[in-house]
Symmetry: C2
Subunit: 335 residues, 2 copies
């Protein structure tokens, strides 16, 4: 299988790390938008020992190389339109999350996907494939803490100086969709339940002159069966900290509580007097898992997952902009 | 100063622990409602070496003993009416939190308090006086992590078998006011900002046949200055766990992040590469601090704090019942 990359602004590293395991070849790359910088991508290609031609226009690359898979990770606001064109041309797409940065784009992308002739769509929810998250999820979904009643997820990142395209909503999409989508995904994935309503808040205060980048946010999700989801996000982890992130998930079940934090899984289980650690399992590699899915071997992230989480993130952003609650029932993507 | 206790269903232990330090005497006790059990209170009195008469009716006790301070901690739904009567009689009141379990009761209590002739009102926000919380708060309010932008608080408790009066909303008041009030208080106290709007969710599912007791809840608070507050509560910490609670507070500031957890304060500060621990200070004892306040020496919890936090907790419960958002602006207690 031949792979092309469009853009160098997202998590292309997932793809480079998975090429060998997936037994696929990277055959070309191109910017997704005219002003996009590709230096980091090119350094990463070199470090990975990959030689592939650069194209000035991604359309020309697709015309010439006819890849099986196109990786879309350009400026976030431009991803949906490119993914649509790739699907229309019949290429499988492995896209940055969120799949779109507006609900209109998301609905259009979904229509194209559903009308397509078998081209598959995957999304870079690579944080499902972290050993602690993967192991915790397997344990929870196997009933290890009874029925799930509440899931909380945290993303805390260093802000640093972000590329200028982050500074406007049009190109960036907002912190709830960009950073929060992972947490929103964890909530739904661990709960095994769909979203019904969301309320959210966000604020740009404290972003050190970086335009429209929200640096704090929180979301509250009403989910099917009375399950509660809550998410808190911040970009205020000090830049001086060695580790970039402080990601966490806490799951409250009828027979115990489980928490993922610092790469470990801690459990407070019925019958035990103290917390215990869960033995970690080895997850598949995320891009290799997507390719395995194309080959009919199943995949941890479905296109439906990516659509649902993108929709939830965009509705949460909308709620936060309005300072109110957004309901999923009235705007749910149709099936 | 003479102290009487009405009821044995709350945190009377705060009072017993503070008698000596406050240099006050417990002179009598009585049930607050007819069916209230006082065995635990009586055991605690014995353990504390306190001898004081039991009265069948609290009104008779007040008539006869004319105490300076009345401690009100009966069934939660009955506290407000008793506190009102005590204030009307000119006794200082040290009341269980929340101050009331309905907004009507809260408004009536506040009117009585404001019309009073100097009788003071304190509330049992004893969890401000835990060394880690107290030390963290002092550090944050002194600017140790810059401007506070987001505060998250968690209460996680073992459920066990609760007394029957917990099983109905009328006598219990609900989990957001009862358990959550502490977390709501921490959010406001650490933020140093007032609440503007709240959305909340709660659920009784998983309460093992204990009537109307909600065992999961989460609240999202919009606060002045765009500060975000979020709270998550659960009663699903397994009964087998040795420790009763897993209380946490996490504060995100413009110059660092701080977390209270497991009796420690961890900070991620600008300029440091790793997390560091805050040296803990010794807080005052909570009831002794209330008495010091009566003597003009200042107190960590004001009556206004107790009114604001009770109002916020009841509005959050109302929002959770309705599945929507409650605004503080329209219902704010008047000044």
């Amino acid at each position: 299988m031949k792979v092309c990359i469009i853009g160098g602004s997202g998590h292309y590293q997932y793809v480079l790390d998975g090429l060998a395991g997936a037994q696929v070849s990277l055959v070309g790359y191109a910017p997704g938008v005219a002003d996009e910088k590709l230096e980091k991508l090119e350094s990463a290609l070199k470090a990975a020992g990959v030689e592939a031609p650069r194209f000035a226009r991604w359309q020309d690359m697709l015309d010439e190389l006819r890849p099986d898979i196109v990786v879309v990770n350009t400026w976030f606001g431009a991803c949906a339109a490119i993914s649509m064109e790739c699907l229309r041309r019949g290429h499988h797409v492995y896209a940055e999350k969120p799949l779109a940065t507006t609900l209109d784009d998301l609905h259009a992308l979904r229509a194209v996907y559903l009308e397509g002739l078998g081209a598959q769509l995957g999304a870079m929810f690579g944080l499902r494939y972290v050993p602690a998250m993967y192991s915790a999820w397997r344990f929870v979904r196997a009933g290890g803490i009874g029925a799930v009643r509440m899931v909380g997820a945290q993303k805390s990142y260093r802000l640093g100086r972000r590329e200028v395209f982050y500074h406007t909503r049009d190109s960036y999409g907002g912190t709830i969709p960009w950073v929060g989508a992972h947490a929103v995904d964890w909530v739904r994935w661990f709960a095994g339940a769909e979203f019904e309503r969301v309320t959210a808040l966000h604020s740009t205060q404290g972003n050190r002159g970086q335009g429209e980048v929200e640096v704090t946010a929180a979301c509250l999700f009403a989910m099917a069966g009375g399950v509660i989801g809550h998410v808190n996000l911040d970009y205020l982890r000090p830049d001086s900290q060695r580790r970039h992130d402080d990601d966490r998930v806490r799951v409250v079940g009828t027979e115990g509580v489980l928490e993922v934090r610092d790469g470990q899984v801690t459990m407070w289980r019925e019958g035990a007097a103290e917390a215990v650690q869960l033995q970690l399992e080895s997850p598949p590699q995320c891009f290799a898992d997507f390719v395995a899915g194309l080959r009919g071997q199943g995949c941890l992230v479905s296109a439906e997952d990516a659509f649902a989480v993108t929709e939830a993130s965009l509705l949460a952003r909308q709620a936060a902009d309005a300072g109110g609650t957004a309901s999923f029932s009235s705007q749910r993507l149709g099936d």
